[in-house]
């Protein structure tokens, strides 16, 4: 019994996490196609809420960093910090994330992901890139990001956010008050950058120098937004990341428990409870009521009742 108490801890391999969350804060993330406590909330709000729950559940010694994505790249707000000692700070910063922090208003997810991987490839942190896949303007397939140099160098996950049903994107004025939704005329429905990816003979009003994309007005559904899941899955394959869709914080938690993301780290685990349990059992045996005496006690009572 005494010997058991001498060695109080033991080295055990324990999964801990080192995650850098990169959150898309482009306008389409304001689309409200999630429900929280039976209230419609924006994608960004839902992501923030899910992450705040996730962080309370990460084991101590895990580290969390936070970054934002807009335009063609992301910025890191803080490098990964230990969750248990800095929980309040991470939580406050998460709650303050706002689409108005965006320093520019484009959204090119492939390039953003590429620059993020480039930026974070030196660290040992796993990347969790959270986006809805909506690009503005849509990317010309001739100018796709090339992930070949980075494939499998960085581990991580792409999390798709949003519903599969297209919904309108809310519009806000400079004070942050809602002013309706983006209409068809507000957004470009096609990229007109660089060389056209179409066959010139098929384009109406084509002119190699002045109108490489033709003269026709293009209409489309880019003012509506839905989760571009196939696109994100394809990006995930190209960049060697995993993919999961965010439906609730529970499903995000399961996606993050992917063994690829966890780092097995030796942690001093308190195992004194082993010996304490043994000692407790022994004490219980010593002090457990003697069955013979109990039996006698009951027999006597029964006899009393009968007489």
């Amino acid at each position: 019994m005494l010997v058991l108490f001498v060695r109080p801890t033991q080295q055990q391999k324990y999964p801990v996490y080192n995650l850098t969350f990169i959150i898309d804060i482009t306008r389409s993330m304001n689309a409200t196609d999630y429900q929280l406590n039976s209230q419609a909330v924006s994608r960004l709000q839902f992501v923030k809420d899910a992450l705040r729950k996730i962080i309370t559940n990460l084991p101590c010694q895990s580290k969390v960093g936070l970054g934002l994505f807009t335009e063609r790249r992301s910025t890191l707000l803080f490098e990964p910090i230990e969750v248990c000692s800095s929980y309040a700070e991470i939580d406050t910063t998460l709650s303050k994330i706002d689409w108005r922090m965006a320093w520019a208003a484009d959204s090119n997810i492939a390039k953003g992901l590429l620059s993020t991987l480039e930026m974070l490839k030196k660290g040992e942190s796993r990347i969790v890139f959270i986006t809805d896949g909506q690009e503005a303007p849509p990317v010309n397939p001739n100018y796709r990001a090339d992930f070949s140099g980075l494939k499998d160098k960085v581990k991580g996950l792409i999390i798709g956010v949003g519903g599969l049903q297209a919904v309108p994107i809310p519009k806000f004025d400079s004070n942050g008050a809602p002013t309706g939704f983006y209409s068809e005329d507000d957004v470009p429905h096609r990229s007109t950058f660089g060389q056209s990816n179409l066959d010139p003979s098929q384009i109406e009003g084509y002119n190699a120098r002045n109108a490489p994309f033709g003269s026709q007005a293009i209409t489309g559904t880019e003012h509506l937004t839905a989760l571009h899941e196939t696109y994100l899955e394809q990006l995930a394959i190209e960049s060697g990341l995993g993919y999961a869709r965010l439906t609730d914080s529970q499903n995000l938690k399961i996606a993050l428990q992917n063994p690829e993301l966890a780092i097995l780290r030796p942690v001093q685990v308190d195992i004194r409870w082993h010996s304490a349990l043994l000692a407790l059992l022994m004490l219980c045996i010593i002090y457990s009521p003697d069955p013979k005496l109990l039996l006698q006690f009951y027999m006597r009572r029964i006899k009393k009742q009968h007489s």
Binding site: F78, M101, L283
Partner: protein, 329 residues
């Protein structure tokens, strides 16, 4: 004193404490007639004591296994320090050197120097609450006011990622002032603006900033990282046609900040050394007494529980040796 346990369900094991009440844990010696033995108060006392010891030992083991601890607490102290919000410029030009070029070889960019020296500054300020905000075209909330220096340092370290876009200083100042909104006024409140440029402040934000500075009683330090051959904050316009906020935004921002009526000091740093001197100056100036909450980390009490249980069990074990073994023939 707030006590808590890690696994409350284990507390159900406390029921076992009752066991010694039913069984003395001693070998019983059959005796023909109990009345023959005189009542001995000493023995009764001893038996009671042994049972209590056993109960305490069981309780100690169970509480130890449940992980008894005193929760994290904050103690109010009076010390020297300040509430500091570091407001960092993340505009593209911060990634250039003081000479205005892309840094080459051993040269440091302005952002690098600022990062290095601010990290030193943060490490020196032991009892301060420090927050971090950044701005380029839009303001970024990075780290709330906190005594967690590790978190602040990691936020400053994260500025090593490439800079963002333009300089929208009025929004950044607004964001920095918002940090103090739910904070009690104690000690000095400081906004430390580190930027390498300025922008014209529009009339609307100008009015709001004046209002907020008055409300929040904030002192402002502006460390202007001046690039060689660029206009400084103390320069006088050579041509009267240039005497406007668009042509000389630095001078006009300086004029605006001086007119706020709240304490304000500007430093113009043209080299990493000048930047270090400016930070050292602020470090010396800002040592007013203030109330702050010191965090006392949680205190693990499982050691005590196990030690108590161990001591009692050893005693009980000793007592066991004194038991007389009467052979029943």
């Amino acid at each position: 004193m707030n006590l808590a346990v890690d696994s409350p369900w284990l507390l159900s094991g406390l029921v076992l404490v009752l066991l010694p009440l039913f069984n003395s844990g001693m070998r019983l010696t059959p005796n023909p007639w109990l009345t023959m033995i005189p009542t001995d108060s000493m023995s009764t006392l001893l038996s009671l004591l042994l049972r209590l010891m056993a109960m305490a030992a069981i309780a100690g083991l169970v509480l130890g296994m449940a992980g008894l601890h005193r929760t994290e607490q904050s103690i109010e102290r009076i010390g020297q320090g300040a509430h500091i919000v570091i407001l960092l410029d993340r505009s593209n030009s911060m990634d250039n050197s003081f000479a205005g070029k892309a840094p080459s070889g051993k040269e440091e960019s302005k952002a690098d120097s600022a990062r290095r020296l601010l990290s030193e500054f943060v490490s020196q300020r032991k009892s301060d609450l420090i927050g971090v905000a950044e701005f380029s075209t839009a303001p970024l909330f990075v780290m709330p006011l906190t005594e967690n220096k590790q978190a602040v340092l990691s936020a400053i370290a994260a500025t090593s990622t490439p800079a963002l876009a333009y300089t929208h200083v009025s929004k950044g100042l607004g964001m920095a002032l918002s940090f103090f909104q739910q904070q009690a006024v104690t000690g000095s409140r400081i906004v430390l603006l580190v930027s390498d440029g300025a922008a014209a402040v529009d009339a609307d934000s100008e009015q709001k900033l004046r209002e907020w500075f008055k409300q929040q009683q904030v002192r402002l330090y502006w460390i202007f990282l001046r690039t060689t051959n660029s206009p400084g904050i103390f320069d006088k316009p050579l041509d009267s046609r240039d005497d406007n906020a668009q042509a000389m935004p630095e001078l006009y921002l300086h004029k605006f900040l001086s007119s706020l009526g709240s304490p304000y000091k500007a430093y113009e740093a043209e080299s990493p050394n000048a930047l270090r001197d400016a930070i050292a100056d602020i470090n010396r100036l800002e040592n007013l007494p203030m109330y702050y909450l010191e965090r006392v980390p949680r205190l693990d009490l499982t050691d005590r529980c196990y030690q108590l249980a161990l001591l009692l069990m050893t005693l009980l074990l000793g007592v066991k040796y004194f038991e007389v073994n009467v052979k029943n023939d």
